[in-house]
């Protein structure tokens, strides 16, 4: 298993997952960097028999996001997961010019979810993992994961529809 190949294949997914979870691009960069540093350090200990590399890597990313919020709490900062800091209610002109309005609206829609739903939706749509893998990673039941995803997408769809985007 070549690390460069892993990096190229999974960086977008890991970054997207972090972006869904932590909000700002800079923080997502930080989480992604820590994830791949840890993956490189643990590459020798990775056992393919224990699970696919996708599950292993997103498991690391999930831990890094948890560490990120723990550090924030320790430093007395605001719990950003509950506040969509980087996502304003009005579209920025730069985003519109760059064609990023849809991205902004999607992130805004995800930000209305509770922490657990956001984690599961982020895992699902960033990694493409099966509900069984997500259930194994999060400790939830497989059918429960499916139900959480269904409800979350429904809620997000309502948010997008309210802005006339769907």
């Amino acid at each position: 298993m070549d690390f460069a190949e892993i990096y190229d294949r999974y960086f977008p997914g890991i970054y997207n997952y972090a972006r869904y979870r932590v909000g700002s691009p800079a923080d997502a960069d930080d989480v992604a960097a820590r994830t791949f540093e840890a993956a490189l350090a643990g590459l020798g200990a990775y056992d393919a028999a224990r699970g696919p590399e996708r599950v292993w890597l997103f498991g690391i990313a999930r831990n890094m996001v948890a560490d990120f919020f723990r550090r924030r709490i320790r430093r007395g900062e605001v719990f950003l997961e509950d506040i969509p800091e980087q996502i304003g209610t009005e579209p920025h002109i730069e985003d519109l010019l760059a064609g990023k309005e849809e991205v902004r609206l999607l992130l805004e829609a995800v930000s209305v979810l509770d922490a657990r739903s956001r984690d599961i939706v982020a895992l699902k749509f960033s990694s493409g993992m099966t509900n069984r893998d997500i259930a194994h990673m999060t400790g939830l039941g497989e059918s429960n994961v499916g139900l959480i995803i269904y409800r979350a997408v429904k809620k997000m769809q309502a948010s997008l529809a309210a802005k006339g985007k769907i």
Partner: protein, 223 residues
């Protein structure tokens, strides 16, 4: 249709989308529209570290991989394995060997008197003892610690220790006796103290007993 059934149907279609399949042509489904948007979304273009992080991590991996490759190549060679095993064994035993040698040296210190070290080592420390003759450290070392420690002590000719020949010392012998004559002991001119003089063939040695100050010995300078 209950919520559980709807969720099951939705997840089946979602997995089909992830697998690269097409959406069923059953009409507009706003939920699947939202899901498609989420699947297509890619924010990684916003990353400012992607390229630099890749270069750094791959450089780190190359360094670690090179080291690991050296270790692997060493492990393939039987002779190298034996040499590594010997080196490991030696490095483990070396502190023990040093400790034993240090104990031997400690045992040499009480040649003329009894000390705690001697008591601890269980060695006799009285002067005149046959196993530890006083005044002869080399013999004491041989007697107490055996031949292994005697290598530490070797007699060195006095000529190699002094820079000058002995006969240059001002006191010369005459008929196996030192011709030192005590001339007199008299009070000196200093405020307090006495002095004693020895007169030899060539020099006069004066031993003074008087109070001195640091300035008599050292030169005091100030900036």
């Amino acid at each position: 249709m209950s919520e559980e059934e709807a969720a099951k149907k939705f997840n089946l279609e979602l997995d089909g989308l992830f697998a690269g399949g097409k959406r069923p042509a059953s009409g507009a489904d706003p939920l699947m529209d939202a899901a498609e948007k989420l699947i297509r979304a890619d924010f990684s273009g916003e990353s400012e570290i992607r390229v630099l992080l890749r270069e750094r991590l791959i450089a780190e991996k190359s360094g670690a991989g090179g080291f690991l490759e050296i270790i692997r190549s060493l492990r393939r060679n039987t002779w190298t394995q034996a040499a590594l095993a010997s080196a490991c064994l030696l490095s483990l035993l070396l502190p023990v060997m040093r400790t034993e040698r240090r104990n031997d040296i400690v045992a040499l210190t009480p040649v003329t008197k009894t000390s705690p070290a001697v008591v601890k080592a269980g060695l006799p420390g009285k002067p005149g003892n046959k196993t530890a003759p006083a005044g002869n450290p080399a013999a004491a070392a041989r007697a107490i610690a055996g031949p292994a420690v005697s290598d530490f002590f070797r007699s060195v000719p006095m000529g190699s220790l002094s820079g000058e020949r002995l006969h240059n010392f001002p006191i010369e012998t005459s008929a196996e006796q030192f011709p030192i004559v005590v001339a007199e002991g008299r009070r000196s001119d200093s405020p307090a103290g006495t002095e004693v003089r020895w007169e030899t063939e060539h020099v006069v040695i004066t031993l003074e007993n008087r109070v001195i100050s640091p300035e008599d010995l050292f030169e005091r300078r100030s900036l």
